[in-house]
Every structure is written in C-alpha cells, then in structure tokens.
C-alpha cells in the first residue's frame, strides 16, 4: 500500500489535517482530520513509501506502549478509513 501522490499533511488551527494539493489530488475537495497518533503514522507511511498493515503496526509498537494485536487492529481500521476516503491505494 502507499499514500497517493498529491496529499499533504498540514497543521490547521492546531489540528493535523490531510489536504489534496498535488496535480493528482487537486479535486479531492475535502479535509481529512487526523489525531496525533494517526498523523505520526502518516509520516511513517510517507517515509516508507510502500507499506503494509504489519509494517505500520510494528512502528506503532516501537513508539507507543501498545499490545501487538491491538496495534494491528487499530492500524487496519485506520487504513480502511484512509482507503475509503481515497488517500491511499
């Protein structure tokens, strides 16, 4: 999986938001609001380029005190939402 080209993480009035700014994302027309953890995961995903649920869950376990199964379930749920909104493929 990867983050679609043209999507950018921005800080808007103190909150983390994904906006479509690139040529391929200019007609996104929405803002996707992320909590601190999701924003941190977005940055990890962006750095990795190509990533899987397991990759991000592993990162999450390194950074936060969380059980492996919980991390995997949370990441899978978050990625499902991102897929539905259309910011990953």
């Amino acid at each position: 999986m990867q983050i679609k080209s043209g999507f950018v993480l921005r800080e808007v009035c103190g909150e983390k938001v994904i906006v479509g700014e690139g040529l391929d994302a200019i007609n996104f027309g929405k803002l996707l609001s992320l909590n601190e953890t999701a924003a941190w995961l977005w940055k990890q995903a962006k750095e990795m380029g190509d990533f899987s649920v397991d990759d991000l869950a592993a990162k999450l376990c390194e950074e936060y005190e969380v059980l492996a199964d919980d991390a995997k379930a949370d990441v899978a749920e978050m990625l499902d939402e991102w897929k539905q909104v259309g910011v990953v493929e």
Binding site: G6, V8, R10, E11, V12, C13, G14, E15, V17, V19, E21, G22, L23, I26, L31, S33
Partner: protein, 283 residues
C-alpha cells in the same frame, strides 16, 4: 513603455506598446512611480506561441485556462475564449519575470487574466491572497462574502449597500487580503472586479468573512478551526500543485482562520438577510 502599479502595497510593472495601456483604465487608480524592486514584471509582446506540455486545464463556461510547462521547465498558461487562443503567459520559475504573447483578439482579457494569475502567484509567499469574493466597508472595517459562482455574493453586497447606512463596495469580485507585519489582516481594492466596475485603491481592516449559501430562510452561524479554514481555501486563487505556492497560501489561510471571525450565512436574497448578517458580524 513601462508602467508601475501598487496593489495592496505590492508593486508590479507592465511593459508593452502604448496601445495595450489604452485598454487598462481599471489600473489607472493603482498607478505608482517607477520602482527598483517589484514583486513581478510582465512584458506584453507579439510573437510565436511557446512549445509546452499540458499539466491541467480549467474550463469555466467556455473560458479555458491550460496550465503547463515549457521543455525548459518554465510555467505556461494559455488562455482560450470561445475556442480561440487569446494569449500565452510564460513565467520564470518564481513567477517574478514573465512575458505574455498576445494574439489579435481578446487582448484585454488576456492581460487582465495574466496579471491576476501573476499577482496571486508572486504574492503567495508574502502573506497575501487574491480572493474570489465581494467586499464591503462599514464603520471603517471590511467584510468579505464568499461562495461558489452564482451563490449571490454580489447580490448580498448590494443588499448591504441598499439597506444599511454607510456601506460602500470595496470590490465586487477580486479583493486582496494581506496580513500586515503587525499580524492584522487588511482588505484592499484591486484592478479586477468582475462585471461591476469598482477599481478603488482603498484598504480596511478585515473584521469578518462570510461564506454564503442559498436557502429558503436566513440563518447565520460561526465557523471555527478546520471548518473556517475549509471555507477559505476554495475562494483563494492559486496553483496548489506548486508546493511553494501551496505553503505560502496555507500560512495565510491558517492565520485568517485563526484570527478573523468566519461565518456561514444560509440566506434568501432579501433585506432581512443583509440585516441579520450585518448585526451579527459587526457586533
């Protein structure tokens, strides 16, 4: 000949044959003396259209703007009206030096559109935004009305002028907002005002921004944070797939969303809409 103009405190220059300037009456109120540094310069010329590769196009009721790049990487904008090319704008990468190749037809439209694009792009990093909005003044402050085309921005501005004492039109279509060094946002008139001639070099502190939408009733509510930001973004001209432009505009939009009250007015085109809006946002 070369003429200089000041809009929202930013000076730009236009160079070309005298004939071009005979159709630039809307710029006369913004005329300024020659300056050593300008935010951008435009040279209007004849000549051959440039070779370029299309990146994206925007079609607005038969007015087509095609954005692309020359083989050397220079940004290009081609303007077409009714299927006919009116001009090609070829820019330096930072939009500071540009030339406009014009054809026989629609020269005035090509010059106006080129200057608007250049102004929006060259000032994006300078805490400045060219809005698609109507702006009015009331009690020494400015208020801006935003909304999609056809929502009734001009109509709402006219209703304020008609029913509220002391209201004047600042600009009907393209006011400029600039965040000054002290952090305060100001609205400025511009040489571009859509169908209503209103080319006034005036400025006022920005006290409120209203997103309009049509409804069978009148209701106003405050937008905050991300909602306020989301209301501003579609009303600001730019080229957001250019990262530096997007970064500059984001800073301006974020400052405005944080510091200037933003409202959503669902309204009818009537006196009551103007009154409820005026009383709420100028309180």
């Amino acid at each position: 000949m070369t003429n200089y103009y000041t809009v929202a405190g930013h000076i730009f220059s236009v160079c070309g044959e005298e004939e071009i300037f005979s159709r630039m009456d809307n710029y006369a109120p913004f005329s300024s003396g020659a300056a050593e540094t300008v935010v951008f310069s435009l040279s209007v010329e004849g000549g051959e259209p440039p070779a370029y590769v299309e990146e994206i196009r925007q079609d607005d009721e038969g007015q087509v703007i095609i954005c692309g790049r020359t083989p050397a990487g220079e940004p290009v904008f081609e303007y077409r009206w009714g299927g006919k090319s009116a001009g090609w704008l070829i820019c330096s990468a930072d939009y500071v030096r540009s030339r406009l190749v014009v054809t026989d037809g629609y020269q005035k439209l090509a010059v106006d559109n080129a200057l608007m694009v250049l102004y929006a792009l060259a000032t994006a990093r300078l805490q400045t935004a060219l809005f698609h909005a109507a702006a009015v003044s009331y009690k020494d402050c400015a208020y801006m009305f935003l909304g999609k085309s056809g929502t009734g921005k001009s109509t709402h501005a006219r209703l304020w002028q008609q029913y509220i004492e002391g209201v004047e039109l600042v600009n009907d279509d393209n006011p400029v907002v600039r965040i000054m060094d002290d952090g305060q946002a100001w609205v400025f008139g511009s040489p571009w005002s859509g169908k209503t001639p209103c080319y006034r070099p005036v400025s006022y502190p920005l006290k409120g921004i209203v997103l309009l939408s049509q409804a069978p009733y009148n209701k106003i509510e405050r937008l905050r944070g991300i909602q306020a930001y989301a209301a501003l973004v579609p009303s600001i001209s730019g080229k957001r797939w250019d990262e530096r432009i997007a970064d500059g505009l984001h800073q301006t939009e974020n400052t405005l969303a944080s510091h200037v009250p933003v409202w959503h007015l669902e309204c009818l085109p009537d006196e009551a809409a103007a009154r409820i809006c005026n009383e709420t946002i100028s309180a």
